[in-house]
Amino acid sequence: GAGVSQSPSNKVTEKGKDVELRCDPISGHTALYWYRQSLGQGLEFLIYFQGNSAPDKSGLPSDRFSAERTGGSVSTLTIQRTQQEDSAVYLCASSLAGWGYTFGSGTRLTVV
């Protein structure tokens, strides 16, 4: 597609439930990133995929968070047993090289 597509755009979930957030990067972009922005905070790095290399998971805040990227394209971020502090906008970005990111519009997650 023309840009990075994320779905859903909004998600409200009950505390303790699992959620899956999807990211469709720009076709041909080998690098894919997940960030999140909590209220009043900057963007916080979560995870980075580059081609077939092992992902950089150093930003994942707990083992409740996981992500995968299938076929070098679509990525899914999964949050298990959601907590209220997980409420944030989750942003996906892709790039062909370096820091030339293109961000998606994000998924606003609200845990109630």
């Binding site: 990075v4 900057g42 916080e44 030339g100 293109t102």
Partner: protein
């Protein structure tokens, strides 16, 4: 520990005047800086960058200045237009092992008043 700091959460400027957005950093190893602009309900978009070998980079109405000794950079918008109203993030690459992750400031919300 916030390595990139934007200490002004908001800024209001009259249309046509200069907007100056500031950013401070603590890691002297940072050698490249980026500014992103974000409208509500949209993802951030890249605006302008600067390498540490320069002290100024200009692109149309946008100029970024870098003061390495003070670990400070600023984004100047001249003249400011209502469409510039957005949240502006300063970012620097984290020199981790092969990862192109960025460290972002908390952002400054710019409001340009017509």
């Amino acid at each position: 520990d916030q390595q990139v700091k934007q200490n002004s959460p908001s800024l209001s400027v009259q249309e046509g005047r200069i907007s100056i957005l500031n950013c401070d950093y603590t890691n002297s190893m940072f050698d490249y800086f980026l500014w992103y602009k974000k409208y509500p309900a949209e993802g951030p978009t890249f605006l302008i960058s600067i390498s540490s070998i320069k002290d100024k980079n200009e692109d149309g109405r946008f100029t970024v200045f870098l003061n390495k000794s003070a670990k400070h950079l600023s984004l100047h918008i001249v003249p400011s237009q209502p469409g510039d109203s957005a949240v502006y993030f300063c970012a620097a690459p984290y020199s981790g092992a092969g990862s192109y992750q960025l460290t972002f400031g908390k952002g400054t919300k710019l409001s340009v008043i017509p």
